[in-house]
Amino acid sequence: MDANELLAWARGPGFDIALTIFVAGMLLRLLEVLALGNKPDLSPPRGSGPKGAVQTLLSRNLPRKAVFDREPLRIINGYVLHIGFFIVLFLYGPHIVLFESFLGFGWPALPSGMIDAVGAITILSLIAALVFRLNNKVIRFISTKDDYVAWTVTLLPLLTGYMAYNHLVASYTMMLALHLLSVELLLVVAPFTKLTHMFSFAMARWYQGYQAGRRGVES
């Protein structure tokens, strides 16, 4: 298959299959979780569950000082990684076109040069995350194959996107095809790895926050 054929497949059946598996897969995981139910709490509440849930949804976005002081670099790197990824994904013109096509609305884009720089920083941050994972004894101990698979499928779209934009290694058409294919790989793999956290983090924060709000405790 040459670059044009690969690109046509990636924009055609490839995308359909990948998006279908992603959406269906994530919904499946979500329903599998919800099905297990949550027994209502009969103890008298001290505060508001929903308020606590919302507060926790927001509060966990920042680290606690006690933990931050112990692992500042690793924690900061986590932020760089995520924020960089979101900037590249959501603020690059051609990407916004995609979101607009099914959301019905778009938003302003950042200049490509900035996206390119942020992309490079994010790739470096991902590499740093891998280095941390391999060298920190706690994370190395609890890591499984899943962590490395998730890392790889997250890196590839960033890397191929950067390479396409900068005309590295292969023709633009080929790199764009590889970029789309790597995104499709990410979509297909995501529901079966820890990448489900992109949705389940909200559920976890909500559940713990709700109980904390009810009990009037910090969360």
Binding site: L36, S43, V67, F141, M203, A204, Q211, V217
Partner: protein
């Protein structure tokens, strides 16, 4: 009934997994920050104490029982099983190396409540026969005798006699229609009898009616610690039944950590119906009395002192400001340790660890965290509001040749109580 078995253990864990637990396992990204919050990891440096690792057997069961993908993996032989070896290997992580202090739950970036998962996974370990001997013993004594330390009513009555002699005050037993039902922990009855005396004087000064129950004086709930809901229910029912029978308005949980959790948050869910009475921690009651002007204090401690937040009362119970408001009235040199408040470090002995002799060495190693906090401050006195914390801290201080006396907050407050018949300096 029937003998414990791995199968029973797995079934028990299966029954404990609910939507929150499933969402936690789905959200965990193996960031390892929970370890940085857990004193068992920070003081031993052993990554096996990473909180999310402690509940790995539950994760395996969740994945293979409750996810399609997990079922497929299991069918292909690609996932790890949970068997006798798993239970054996994880027993010390689930019991010895965890006090359910909840610090990990607070720091998890995705919002996982790992300490709650520990509580749930213990159901499986106990059902499989992998609960520590110490806790089995405590639970047995609690069920059969009425107290995990084997304290019977006569011992309580003896304490009461002492109290009557000292203060001239009466301790009502089974007084119907009293406003408050006061619970005690075995630890207090055995080691810190000043508590009951303090209660008696404070209640008298505040002009409140109160009582203890002869059939349910014990607050400590060993069922929570060992992780067997049936036993927890049995124990908490004694208190509920007594409170209902005596028609009290409020049940007061004493200076004990998990006792508060058991009666305040778990009880209604264990018995399957809401209470007909309120539950408050003694610190909440004291704070109320002070703020309502029912009791007054006089004089200040001038020793440099600090306050240790018992996990179940502060972080898990929400009683953080009240002890500080009370202390500030009676202490002129109250300094806070680093991480004070909701993020304070566990004493290392809660959640059943202190009843588990096998965990003694680990517990003392974990104490190094509290030691560091105290040494950084250089205090003369340590105040706390949990008898189990108190004992654990005393043991740790002794082991480390640190001469810092520990006082219960209620007891200290009572020392500064302004009583109508006699003035206290």
């Amino acid at each position: 009934m029937s003998a414990p078995s791995v199968e029973k253990g797995i079934q028990a864990i299966k029954g404990q997994i609910d939507a929150p637990v499933a969402s936690f396992f789905s959200a965990c990204v193996h960031c390892g920050l929970c370890a940085e919050a857990c004193l068992f990891y920070t003081e031993t440096g052993d990554p096996k104490y990473t909180p999310i690792n402690k509940v790995e057997p539950m994760r395996r069961i969740w994945e293979r029982e409750y996810t399609l993908f997990g079922k497929a993996k299991a069918a292909l032989g690609l996932s790890k099983k949970v068997d006798a070896d798993t239970f054996a290997e994880w027993e010390t992580l689930v019991y010895d190396g965890c006090t359910m202090c909840g610090r990990c739950s607070l720091v998890c970036p995705v919002g996982n409540d790992i300490s709650d998962m520990i509580r749930k996974i213990r159901e499986g370990f106990a059902a499989a026969g992998y609960a520590p001997e110490g806790l089995i013993g405590a639970s047995t004594r609690a069920v059969e005798i009425g107290s995990p330390m084997g304290v019977k009513l006569p011992a309580v009555q003896a304490q009461i006699k002492h109290l009557q002699k000292n203060t001239g005050l009466d301790v009502p037993i089974d007084a119907k229609g009293a406003e408050y039902l006061v619970l005690l922990s075995s630890m207090e009855i055995m080691n810190f009898p000043e508590y009951l005396e303090a209660i008696a004087r404070i209640m008298h000064q505040a002009g409140k009616t109160w009582t203890i129950a002869s059939k349910a004086f014990e607050a400590t709930n060993s069922g929570i610690q060992i992780g067997v809901s049936d036993i927890a229910k049995l124990l908490v029912s004694r208190v509920v039944d007594a409170a209902d029978e005596l028609g009290v308005k409020t049940v007061i949980s004493p200076e004990c950590g998990h006792a508060f959790t058991a009666i305040r948050w778990d009880g209604a869910n264990l018995i399957g119906r809401p209470y007909g009475f309120e539950v408050k921690h003694i610190l909440e009651v004291l704070d109320e009395f002070v703020k309502q002007g029912l009791i007054k204090t006089a004089g200040m401690e001038d020793a440099k002192l600090t306050y240790h937040d018992p996990c179940q009362i502060a972080r898990k119970g929400g009683v953080v400001e009240q002890p500080r408001d009370l202390l500030n009235r009676i202490a002129s040199n109250f300094v806070e340790m680093e991480d004070a408040g909701e993020m304070n470090w566990c004493c290392g002995g809660g959640g059943g660890v202190s009843a588990n002799e096998r965990a003694d060495e680990l517990k003392l190693t974990a104490f190094n965290r509290k030691k560091a906090q105290l040494q950084a401050l250089g205090v003369d006195t340590l105040v706390t509001a949990c008898a189990n914390c108190r004992l654990t801290l005393e043991e740790g201080l002794e082991e480390n040749n640190m001469d810092i006396p520990i006082v219960g907050l209620t007891e200290m407050l009572a020392e500064h109580l302004v009583e109508d018949d006699k003035e206290k300096a």
